[in-house]
């Protein structure tokens, strides 16, 4: 059944979109992430323009992170103070990201910047995750205890001023790195159409030492608000958010996430991290492939002024 997408301006099969929503939702539930880094490229590969894909996926992630955040809220696994401090940077980052997005689109370089950002970010993060995952599995094979990465209790980050105590996370850190992390996530989220859960969770654990029981819930609050603001800003400035496309994706996504979460609980965590790393790396390599291999069609056409 074909449905006409009003903003993307093309007909797409509804079941294909629902299937993509379910599949990405399953993976996002399994790993406890938003899944934007998979959804945005998938939409680009089925022919939706990168600009519409990025803007619309932000709506999809807002929905999936809200349903996740509600679950963590019920378990009191969210550090509200930390989330608010992250958001202070996150909102500014989102606004900056949407402004850059608009400028790049006017210059005609948006698509290449999106592709390069995916290649560089997912390629490097994916490679690190795979290496880390393989090391963890090797250690487990050799019978050594799984090393809990909690390096020396003081790094340079803890020497920064403006220290604040976050009671629920039991950490005492400077507001500067917290805001900076929020800014980075908001910024790349708005440009790449990702919530960034796969980046944010490790950053919060390694740099700020946020305990694992509150880290996912807190990161979901940040993702929810930055992605909801990105939706509003993309809609207000570039008119690129396709509500019909977003609705189909999120219905599939939130459903798939429930089954993914159950599947994820049955798997060993180091194996899960390795799988996620392989997935991230694969998406990065796919972008590399498109950038390096000679395309079949060297010319592209697009309408000036309106639309993608």
């Amino acid at each position: 059944m074909e449905i006409y997408l009003p903003i993307a301006d093309l007909p797409v099969n509804v079941f294909l979109l629902l299937g993509m929503g379910l599949a990405v939702g399953f993976i996002s539930g399994m790993f406890g992430i938003g899944g934007g880094f998979l959804m945005t490229p998938l939409l680009i590969f089925i022919g939706i323009s990168p600009a519409v894909s990025v803007a619309t996926v932000s709506t999809h992630i807002a929905a999936s992170s809200f349903s996740g955040a509600v679950a963590y809220w019920r378990r009191r696994a969210i550090d509200i103070a930390l989330a608010l401090m992250l958001l202070a940077g996150g909102i500014v980052g989102t606004v900056a990201g949407v402004l850059l997005f608009t400028a790049l689109r006017q210059l005609g370089h948006l698509d290449i910047v999106i592709s390069l950002s995916y290649l560089l970010l997912l390629g490097s993060v994916g490679a690190m995750m795979v290496a880390e995952g393989l090391r963890a599995i090797l250690r487990a094979r050799q019978g050594k205890p799984v090393e809990l990465r909690r390096p020396g209790s003081h790094t340079w980050i803890h020497g920064l001023p403006l220290k604040i105590r976050f009671k629920q996370s039991k950490i005492y850190v400077s507001a500067i790195p917290v805001c900076a992390i929020g800014f980075i996530m908001g910024f790349i989220g708005a440009i790449m159409g990702i919530g960034g859960g796969f980046l944010l969770v490790p950053m919060l654990i390694y740099f700020l030492r946020v305990p694992t029981n509150v880290v996912i819930g807190t990161s979901m609050v940040l993702t929810l608000i930055t992605m909801a603001s990105a939706t509003i800003l993309h809609a207000a400035t570039n008119h690129l958010v396709d509500a019909v496309l977003a609705l189909i994706l999120m219905v599939g996504g939130v459903t798939g996430a429930q089954f993914g979460a159950r599947a994820g609980q049955k798997m060993r965590s180091e194996r899960l991290r390795l799988l996620l790393g392989i997935l991230v790396l694969a998406v990065g390599l796919r972008f590399a492939f498109d950038l390096i291999v000679t395309p079949n069609e060297l010319y592209t056409i697009r309408t000036v002024g309106e639309g993608p």
Binding site: P6, T59, S64, S67, A236, P295, E297, L298, I301
Partner: protein, 264 residues
């Protein structure tokens, strides 16, 4: 009555009959009458393109049709828009858009239908003058301060036409018009889902003896209706409100999911 006045009346009568004869001559020549199966195409959620039937007759053509061969060319021109053609080049090992050309106010849709290949009923000069076919349709480009039509072998123009043809937005169908009787013709116009909304002009020309002897035109409109129209216009006219509502929809969906799938 005086003889002079009688002569005057005779002269007036002669002039009148001559004028009548002159006026009657164009009336006796061929005239094209044409219509479309529908004049408004509505885009709904399951829109996958539309087929329209163009039909018409050559009036006063019965006698002439016996010794004259008629040929019909119907040119469907969609709304005009400016397009950018980007050319990728390998820079530092990666393929990126390096050169671009802007085509100014070119048809978003162009379909030329005819009874026979163009060259078999008119010479190149006539085809150029009447702008028959894609090659003879001006596609002006912005070249520095000037807006000019490039030669048909310009690579940007060729690529533009090729991509448009692949998307079925440009096309030539040289057997697209058929004569059902010596004077009754019909043609099928296919407009794909990708074609933009707006007014589509249909220009019909009758060729005989290597020249255009009659012409007419018609038009149809593609409009979005209902929900799609509401969404598309809301997104552009009330971007902020649209964004807020969409974000709220996302939150509602997420909340519903957390209620439906609640496991504790």
């Amino acid at each position: 009555m005086r003889p002079t006045s009688r002569r005057q009346i005779r002269a007036v009568c002669a002039m009148a009959s001559l004028l009548l004869a002159l006026a009657a001559r164009p009336a006796a020549a061929e005239r094209l009458v044409s219509s479309l199966s529908n004049h408004i195409v509505q885009i709904t959620s399951n829109f996958t393109g539309v087929e329209l039937t163009l039909f018409g007759t050559v009036e006063n053509g019965q006698a002439a049709a016996l010794h004259n061969r008629y040929d019909i060319v119907a040119t469907v021109t969609g709304p005009r828009e400016s397009m950018v053609v980007l050319h990728k080049e390998r820079i530092f090992g990666i393929w990126m858009n390096a050169q671009s050309r802007t085509f100014v106010d070119v048809p978003a849709f162009l379909e030329v239908l005819s009874t026979r290949p163009f060259a078999s009923f008119a010479d190149a000069e006539m085809l150029r003058r009447e702008r028959i076919g894609i090659a003879d349709t001006p596609l002006p480009q912005q070249l520095g301060p000037r807006v000019t039509d490039a030669s048909p072998d310009d690579p940007f123009r060729q690529s533009f036409v090729r991509i448009k043809q692949e998307r079925h937005l440009y096309g030539e169908t040289t057997n697209g018009v058929t004569f059902l009787t010596p004077t009754l013709y019909r043609a099928t116009i296919f407009v794909p889902a990708e074609a933009p909304v707006g007014t589509y002009d249909v220009d019909i020309k009758l060729f005989a003896g290597g020249a255009v002897i009659a012409r007419t035109n018609s038009a149809f409109e593609i409009v979005t209706v209902g929900f799609e129209r509401f969404i598309a216009s809301a997104a552009v006219d009330h971007g902020l409100a649209y964004g807020v509502v969409t974000a709220m929809m996302a939150v509602m969906t997420g909340w519903l999911a957390s209620v439906i799938f609640r496991r504790d």
